[in-house]
C-alpha cells in the first residue's frame, strides 16, 4: 500500500506544525538573549556545560530525548512492523538508558570534570590520556564523521516526513528544521538545547499518549488484532524470530554500549548536584519506558490496519492519519520533529565542542583569547549546521554507509577507553588508542559483513571484545599514565 493523504486535512497539519515551529523559534530567541548576557570569559563554559547548573528535568531530557531520535519515532516502529515482537524486546534495552549512563559514569565525571575543568566529551578523554594528539585526532575524526553523517540522516528523515505530511516541498522542510536547530544550538549553546529539549520531550510525550489512545480506540480488542496478524504472519507475535544470542547482542548494542556515545555522556558535564542527577535517572526512566513500549507496540499493531505497507518507516505517520483527528495528527508530527531536532541539537553541540574545545583550543592554540574563542566557536557551530543541512539537500554517496556504522562505530571506539579510563588506573593513552582503532576496525569488518567474525550475533560483540582486550593488553605493556593525571582522576585533592 502506498501512503496517501487526504488534501483537506493538510492545512490543519501545516497549521499545527507551524505553531510548534514558532514556539521553538521563541525558545531559541530566549536562549540567545540568555547567552548574550554571559561574560566573554565565561562564554565557552556556559555554551558547552551551561555553567554546570542543569536541574533534574533538563538533564533527564538531554540524555533521554538526546538519544531518542527518528530511530525511536519512525525507524523503530517501522522495524517493529516488519520484524515484530522480537524487535520490541530489543528496543526495551534502551528503557533505562538514563540509569545506565548516569549511574555508571555520571557522578565520577561530575567530580573529575569540575577538577580538571573539562567542558567536552573529548576534553575528558584528552585529559585522562595525557593530551595525546593521536588520540585527539582519532576521536575528533570519529565524532565529526559519524555524528556528522547521523545529523544529515536525521535532517533527511525530518524533511521527508514534512514533505509527506504537509505536501509542501522537501527544501522548505529542511529550511524550517535548520532554522530551529541553528537558532537554538548555535546561539543558545547547551542551555538553548536544554530549554528546547524539555519542551520537545513534552510534545513527544503528548504525541505518544494521543497516538496510543487513538490506536487502542480504533482497534478495539488488541487480542483479536494480534491474532489476525498472527494468522497471516506468525513470526510477528513471537520473540523466536531472532535467536536468543542475537537478541542478547542487540541488548548490548542498544543498552550497555549507550554509555560510550558522546552526546549521552555529554549530559554528565552539565548537571548541578547529585540530587538532580539521581532524579534525572528516575524521570528519564518514566519517559523512555513509555515511549519505547508504546511506540514499538503501535508499530506492530499498525499491521492489523494496514498489512501491506511498502515503506515500513511510514507506519507511524500512516497510523497517525488513520486514528487521530487532523490537529492531533499535527501534534504527533511535531513530536517526531521534536525527537529529531533534539538529537540534532545535542549532536551539533558535541561536534562543535570537539572541533573548538578539543581540536582547536587543546591541540592547536591553548592560549586563544576568550573573545577570539567565542567568535571561532560561533563560526564553527554555524558551519557545522550549514554543512549538514547542505549535505541533506543532496545526500552524498556513501552517506548511508557512514550512518549505518555511526552509532555502533562511536560505541565500539569509545566504550572501553571511557570506562577503563574512568575506573582503571593502569589504562594509558597507548591502550586507549589501540582500543579505539581496534574496536572501530573490528566493528566495520564485522557489521559490514567483510568477514564472518560475528558468530550469528550483532557486529558490536566482536568489536566490544577486541577493543577491551586491546585497551587492557596494550596499556599493560606500556608505561603508566603520568602521576598528576592519575592523582586528579582517582586521588583526594591535596
Amino acid at each position: 500500500m502506498e501512503f496517501t493523504l487526504n488534501p483537506e486535512v493538510r492545512p490543519v497539519i501545516v497549521g499545527t506544525f507551524a505553531a510548534y515551529t514558532v514556539i521553538m523559534l521563541v525558545i531559541g530567541y530566549f536562549a540567545k538573549k540568555m547567552m548574550d548576557g554571559t561574560a566573554v570569559n565565561r562564554y565557552v563554559d556556559e555554551f558547552y556545560t551551561g555553567g554546570r547548573g542543569m536541574g533534574a528535568l533538563a538533564l533527564a531530557m538531554i540524555v533521554a530525548a538526546g538519544l531518542c531520535s527518528a530511530g525511536t519515532f519512525l525507524g523503530g516502529p517501522g522495524m517493529a512492523y516488519r520484524v515484530g515482537g522480537t524487535w520490541v524486546i530489543a528496543v526495551c534495552a534502551q528503557n533505562f538508558m538514563n540509569f545506565l549512563v548516569l549511574g555508571s559514569v555520571g557522578k565520577k565525571i561530575g567530580i573529575v570534570a569540575r577538577r580538571i575543568q573539562a567542558q567536552s566529551f573529548m576534553g575528558l578523554l584528552l585529559n585522562r590520556y595525557n593530551n595525546s594528539k593521536v588520540l585527539g585526532l582519532i576521536g575528533v575524526l570519529c565524532i565529526v564523521a559519524f555524528m556528522g553523517s547521523y545529523v544529515v540522516a536525521q535532517f533527511v528523515g525530518g524533511a521527508r516526513l514534512f514533505e509527506t505530511m504537509t505536501g509542501l516541498s522537501y527544501e522548505l522542510g529542511l529550511l524550517l528544521f535548520a532554522v530551529v536547530v541553528l537558532l537554538v544550538a548555535v546561539f543558545g549553546g547547551i542551555k538553548g538545547v536544554a530549554l528546547a529539549i524539555v519542551f520537545q520531550g513534552i510534545v513527544m510525550t503528548i504525541a505518544v499518549v494521543a497516538l496510543f489512545w487513538g490506536t487502542l480506540n480504533h482497534i478495539g480488542s488488541t487480542e483479536t488484532a494480534l491474532k489476525t496478524i498472527a494468522q497471516a504472519e506468525p513470526s510477528i507475535v513471537t520473540p523466536w524470530t531472532w535467536t536468543m544470542a542475537y537478541q542478547a547482542s542487540m541488548w548490548m548494542n542498544f543498552g550497555l554500549l549507550i554509555v560510550g556515545i558522546p552526546h549521552s555522556t555529554m549530559g554528565t558535564l552539565t548537571y548541578k548536584s547529585t540530587r538532580a542527577m539521581h532524579r534525572a535517572i528516575v524521570i528519564g526512566a518514566v519517559f523512555v519506558v513509555f515511549w519505547s513500549l508504546a511506540l514499538m507496540s503501535m508499530g506492530v499493531l499498525t499491521r492489523s490496519i494496514y498489512p501491506n505497507l511498502k515503506v515500513v518507516d511510514h507506519a507511524i505517520p500512516v497510523l497517525t492519519m488513520t486514528v487521530l483527528p487532523p490537529w492531533l495528527a499535527g501534534v504527533t508530527i511535531a513530536g517526531v520533529a521534536g525527537a529529531i531536532q533534539s538529537t540534532v541539537g545535542a549532536m551539533i553541540i558535541v561536534i562543535s565542542s570537539a572541533l573548538i574545545k578539543d581540536a582547536y583550543q587543546t591541540l592547536i592554540n591553548p592560549s586563544a583569547a576568550p573573545e577570539k574563542l567565542r567568535k571561532i566557536n560561533m563560526i564553527a557551530t554555524t558551519l557545522v549546521c550549514l554543512l549538514t543541512v547542505g549535505a541533506a539537500l543532496r545526500p552524498p554517496h556513501g552517506l548511508q554507509v557512514l550512518v549505518i556504522f555511526s552509532v555502533g562505530g562511536l560505541a565500539s571506539a569509545f566504550f572501553w577507553p571511557l570506562m577503563l579510563g574512568i575506573y582503571w588506573m593502569r589504562t594509558n593513552e597507548y591502550g586507549a588508542i589501540a582500543g579505539m582503532l581496534g574496536g572501530l576496525i573490528t566493528y566495520i569488518v564485522g557489521a559490514g559483513g567483510y568477514a564472518n567474525i560475528t558468530f550469528g550475533m550483532h557486529g558490536i560483540v566482536p568489536a566490544f571484545v577486541v577493543s577491551g582486550v586491546l585497551t587492557i593488553g596494550v596499556s599493560l605493556m606500556t608505561p603508566k599514565t603520568p602521576y598528576g593525571v592519575i592523582r586528579a582522576w582517582f586521588g583526594a585533592k591535596a
Partner: protein
C-alpha cells in the same frame, strides 16, 4: 616524603591517597551494571521462555510480552527508584 613530578610515569599507585567519593562512584557503577544485566537476562529469558511452545494471551497482549516486557520494566523501575534514592549517595561535586 618528597613531592612527585606530575609528569612522572614511574611510580607506585599506592602512593596516591584515594578520594573516598570516587571509590563510592566505582561501587555505584558496579551496582548499575550488575542490576542492569539482571534486568537484561530477566527480560530476554522470560520472553523467550514463555513463548517457547506457542503464544497465549493475557490482558489483550501476548503473555510473554506482558510478563517479559511490561512487568519486568515495572519491577526494574521500582528497583531503580530504590537504588537511586536510597542507595546512591549524595555528595559534594566540588573539592572543598
Amino acid at each position: 616524603m618528597q613531592k612527585r613530578d606530575d609528569r612522572d610515569r614511574n611510580y607506585d599507585f599506592g602512593e596516591i591517597e584515594l578520594d573516598p567519593r570516587l571509590e563510592r562512584c566505582e561501587y555505584e557503577m558496579k551496582l548499575t551494571f550488575g542490576s542492569w544485566l539482571i534486568y537484561a537476562f530477566a527480560t530476554i529469558g522470560l520472553s523467550y521462555y514463555l513463548s517457547r511452545g506457542g503464544v497465549d494471551y493475557i490482558h489483550g497482549m501476548p503473555s510473554w510480552f506482558f510478563w517479559g516486557e511490561c512487568v519486568t520494566a515495572f519491577v526494574f523501575f521500582l528497583v531503580v527508584c530504590y537504588m537511586v534514592l536510597k542507595v546512591f549517595r549524595n555528595m559534594d561535586l566540588f573539592d572543598r
